[in-house]
Structure formats: C-alpha cells, structure tokens
C-alpha cells in the first residue's frame, strides 16, 4: 500500500514536468507578442524590446522553461503579465473559493448519487428506476452554467430567497458563505450526480445478477442487508474511480459556474487570464489543477485498493 503511494507520487513528478513543458512549448506558438499586448499599440519598438528582455521573452524556449521551473522549485510560479502580481498569490486567493465549491459539490454528488444508484440498481426495470434513469439522462444533457442562470432567475430574481452572486471569498462566516455557495453548488453538482447515479446503478445491477447474490437471496437475506454486506463493496469500485475523474471535470466546469455567478475562484481567474492571454497565470492554473487531479486519482486507487483486494496486484 505504502509502496504504491510512494511509487505513484514519484511518477507524478515527471508527469507534471511533461504537462508543464507541453503547455510551455505551446506558448511559443502564440501569434501575439505579449510585450506588445501589455504596452498597447502605441508602444515604441524600443520599449517593446526592453519589456521583452525584462520578461525574459528574448531567451530561447528551454532557457525560459528552466527559469520558470527553477522558480517553481523555489515556491514561485512567476508574475502575471498584466498587473504584475505573483501568480502564486493570485491562485492562493482563488483556491479557498474553488475548493469550497468543488469539494461541497463532490460530497453532495456522492451522498445523493451513491444511495440512489444502489437503490435503482437493485430494482432495474421498475417504474421508479425507469423514471430516475431518464431524469439522469436529462440532467446530464444540461449545461451547468445554464442551470446556474435559471437558479439565479428563480431563487434570486423571482423569489428573493438567495443572493444572485456566488461567494467572492470565503469569509469564515459559515451561514453567509453557505448562502452564497448553494446555487453554484447545485448547478455544478446536478450533471455529476446524474453521471455517478448512472455508473452506480449500472455496476450495482451487474453485481446483483451474479450467482453469489442469487444464492444469498435464496438464503432469505433481506435486500437491505444484501446491499450493504455483499453488493455495495463490489459495485462501488467503478463509482470511486468515476468520482475521482469527476473532481477533475468539476474543477474545469467550476470555471464556468464561477464566471456566471461572479465568484472569484481559480476557474474565473483562468478565464480572465485567457481573455487577456496572461500566460503565466494559465501555466500556474494548469500545473495546480493537474497536480490536484493526479492526487485525486491516487486517492481513488487507494479506495479501489480497499474496496477490491483483487485489484491490488495490478
């Protein structure tokens, strides 16, 4: 177990290096000259050249990458091109907001989708199962940001129950933070609940049809006991893997939900940076999200390890 964690963590380092170098190399293809973009159209060639030198843009690609990487190892992600703020500070400001949004959504997704999926999977073909499956298909087809817009329309504009803007920062006032987070969390979770429900339902149905379950049923065990003692552990292996994948998806989609609801998380920081082509911020966000996703995948593997001893060899 410990060995697997060590090995996976060690593999993650070269993977992150590859990801960051790939994005860094892509920036060399950028058609716009950042120095010119920062100074505006009226800049003199001299000042553009000076800024290019200051930003290190006149250095060869590998040299620039090495400088950046050296900074990363010393805890600095560089400075943004527009506004000249440290990228690390900017990401740290957005991190609590995105973490609160994504982690709450992940928990909400798991506590709704897993029991519902287990329930429906034990009763495939029943009217309730059919309705739930169709509803899940419908939910999966809904764009999160559109759901967020409708929730704002109904709960904020019409009913005046909740604020129409999401949390711009986590204040520590739980009630106030929660009020600003509810609508974004619901919008972000809805499709993921549907996806996890479908996965859990399918794998539960598969396990429920196995011979050993039929034997246990014939032995007179109650459905409730059957689910928790014999079905759940096997059926939830793919769900754990999916949930880790969903964390990655949610971080991406959070960018849209944050932008719609005016939250100041990493996602909306990335969107703002993309609109102004602020590459250092983009690099920082890609590195941080890739690291988080790799960590989540490792957690999923640990969960699989616990749920399915058979998978331990591979």
């Amino acid at each position: 177990m410990l060995q697997m964690i060590m090995r996976r963590t060690l593999i993650a380092v070269p993977l992150l290096l590859i990801v960051s170098f790939a994005v860094f190399a892509l920036t060399a293809l950028s058609p716009t000259d950042p120095a010119r973009a920062i100074l505006g159209e009226g800049a003199t060639p001299d000042s553009v050249r000076a800024l290019r030198h200051q930003l290190g843009l006149d250095q060869p690609l590998l040299h620039r990458y090495w400088t950046w990487l050296d900074g990363v190892f010393h805890g600095s992600l560089g400075r943004s091109w527009f506004g000249n703020v440290p990228v690390g500070t900017k990401i740290l400001q957005g991190l609590p907001v995105t973490a609160a949004l994504v982690l709450s959504s992940l928990v909400l997704t798991a506590i709704i989708a897993v029991p519902a999926g287990l329930y429906a999977g034990m009763r495939t073909g029943s009217p309730l199962d059919r309705v739930a499956s169709f509803a899940a298909g419908l939910g999966l087809a809904m764009p999160e940001f559109w759901v967020a817009l409708l929730l704002i329309l109904v709960f904020s504009e019409k009913l005046h129950l909740l604020p129409g803007t999401g949390a711009t920062s986590i204040t520590g006032n739980v009630l106030d933070d929660a009020k600003h987070l509810i609508l974004p969390i619901v919008a972000l979770s809805l499709p993921q609940i549907c996806a996890l429900f479908r996965q859990t339902r399918a794998s539960t149905a598969l396990v429920a049809n196995q011979d050993y379950i039929r034997t246990a049923r014939a032995g007179g065990i109650s459905t409730h006991e059957l689910v928790w003692t014999r079905v759940a552990k096997n059926a939830l292996v793919p769900s754990a893997t999916l949930l880790a994948l969903q964390l990655g998806r949610m971080i991406g989609v959070a960018a849209v939900v944050e932008s719609v609801t005016g939250m100041h998380g990493i996602g909306s920081i990335a969107v703002q940076a993309a609109l102004s082509s602020d590459i250092p911020i983009i690099l920082g966000v890609v590195l941080v999200t890739a690291a988080v996703v790799m960590a989540a995948n490792l957690l999923a593997d640990i969960a699989t390890h616990y749920l399915a001893p058979k998978a331990r060899q591979s």
């Binding site: 764009p143 998806r249 993309a274 602020d278 966000v285 890609v286």
Partner: protein
C-alpha cells in the same frame, strides 16, 4: 460426447468476426424497436436538417436588426420573438445550432483521428512503444478538459476551432483506449493468424477484422463525445472564449441574454432548451446503440 471446434473448418469462419449483413439488419431492427431512441434520432435529424436548411425556410436573416421591434414575444412574424437588437430569435437559434453542431463534430473528429489509428496500431504492435504511448495518453487525462481548452485559447487567441481541437485532444485517450483494447484482444485470435498466413497485409487485417469488431464501441463513444462537445462549446462560447461576434453559437447567444435574465428570460431559456434537446437526443441514441450492440461484440 464429441466436441466440435468451430474454427476447425478453416477459412470459412473468417467473416464471423465482423457483423454480417444479416446481423446489421437485426441490430437496426432492434434499435428501431426502441421507441424512445427512435424518437430521439428523428428529433435530432429534424433539428440538424432545420439548422442546415435554415436559409430555405423563409425566416428573416439571423443578423438583420430591427431596432423598432426589440425584445418582442412570439408572433407570426417572429415565431420565437426577437432579441435585444430586434433580431429574429428562431433564425438566430438555427444559425447558432449549425455552428454548435459543427464545433462538436470538430472535437469528435480530432478525438477519433488522434485516438483510433494509434490505438489500433499499438494494440497490434504491443511492447515498449505501446506502453510509452499509452502512458502519454494517460497523462493527457490529468488535465481537466475545460482547463486545457481555456489554456489553448489563452495561447492561440480567442477562436472556436482551437478550443474545440483542445476538447478533441482531451477526448482522444478514450478513443485510443477502446481501439487499443479491441486490437490487442483480436491480435491473438486464430483468425488473424490465419489471415496473416494467407498473405493479408496488416493494414488490411486491421481494416476488415479489427475495425469491424470495435466499430460499435466507437459509435457509442462518438455519441458521448458529440454530446459533450455541444456542452463544451456552449460553455466556452458563453465565456467569450469560443465563437466571436457577429456569428453566434448557442453558447454565445446566452452571454448577451444573461444580462437580460429578468427582463427577457425566454432569451436564456430557448437556446438552453435546444442545447439540452440536442445533447439528450444524441446520448439516448448512443445508449440504445450500446444496448443493442453489446450482445453482438465478439472478443
């Protein structure tokens, strides 16, 4: 008791690996038997046709502004009303649908072109190269799709095609994995060895036997990617990172409509409903295809 080996008959078993004509007809019949999926297919095709042939429908041009008739409700002249600049909402939705569908096709095409040929090749070749390439595709999956798309747009500039190429790249590992697994399973089969011993070239074996086996799984994955492509396009264009004015996609229509959320909620609801119907129809068809063909696949 005598055991008969089906593959003892020699070359006559060769075609058994691919879905035969009769099998295809049976699959089609099983699909049409599913009313929900058939309806979804019909609705999807109707929307596609309406989007493609919108100029022939006699609607006002999608970009013509009629400032005197701003934010109108539905009428005979404007079936879905008009937007904040007096443009016909239905004509705009149809034009936007065409752009959104094309964007989803681009992403899917990129995923297929990157994933399938490499997957088939690596599945057959195996060995070291296979594990290196597979690892590279794994790495791609550690970047959230939308974050990669946002990064690509930041680098190459705001435009829809690069954004959709990025979405396609993120989806290529799934295509790669499906094709690789199918090719690797089939590679060891006796009939592949038989075809090879009969002098068939590798690429021909791949085309006739392996691709025939993996096609149903690929079709399902294509439907999943198309549906996701429509949703991803909507999100990126909504953020202003995709399609640029004056052309509009379903996502970018929502950007301007969001400012009028309270005054004209129909402008937000209508494009959203089209997105949902498209994504839902595609995935219903995909689900049905998977159910219908899952019994047919031979290892």
């Amino acid at each position: 008791m005598t055991l008969t080996y089906p593959d003892a008959a020699g070359p006559s078993v060769l075609p058994a690996a691919e879905p035969s004509e009769a099998r295809r007809v049976a699959t089609l019949r099983a699909f049409l038997h599913r009313r929900l999926a058939t309806t979804a297919l019909v609705v999807f095709l109707l929307i596609v046709l309406a989007a493609l042939f919108a100029p022939l429908l006699g609607l006002p041009a999608p970009n013509v502004q009629e400032l005197a008739a701003r934010l109108q409700g539905p009428s005979w002249k404007h079936l879905l009303g008009t937007d904040e600049l007096g443009r016909d909402q239905l004509a705009r939705i149809l034009a936007a649908t065409r752009i959104s569908l094309w964007a989803a096709c681009q992403a899917t095409l990129v995923g297929v072109v990157l994933g399938v040929p490499l997957g088939l090749a690596m599945g057959l070749v195996g060995g070291r190269l296979d594990s290196i390439i597979s690892r590279a595709f794994d790495t791609l999956q550690s970047i959230p799709p939308l974050i990669l798309a946002i990064a690509i747009v930041a680098i190459v500039g705001r435009s829809l095609t690069p954004a959709m190429i990025a979405i396609g790249i993120v989806f290529s590992p799934t295509f790669y994995r499906i094709s690789r697994a199918a090719a690797a399973t089939v590679a060891g089969e006796t009939y592949i060895e038989a075809s090879r011993s009969m002098g068939q070239r590798t690429h021909k074996i791949v085309l006739t036997h392996v691709l025939g086996n993996v096609s149903s799984a690929l079709i399902v994955q294509v439907s999943i990617t198309l549906a996701f492509g429509i949703l991803a396009e909507a999100a990126l264009s909504y953020l202003g990172l995709g399609v640029q004015p004056p052309s509009a996609s379903l996502g970018s229509m929502l950007t301007s409509a969001a400012n009028l959320l309270n005054a004209a909620p129909q402008l937000v609801i209508e494009p959203g409903v089209v997105i949902i119907v498209l994504a839902l129809c595609i995935s219903l068809v995909g689900d049905a295809l998977r159910d219908v063909t899952s019994g047919e696949q031979v290892g």
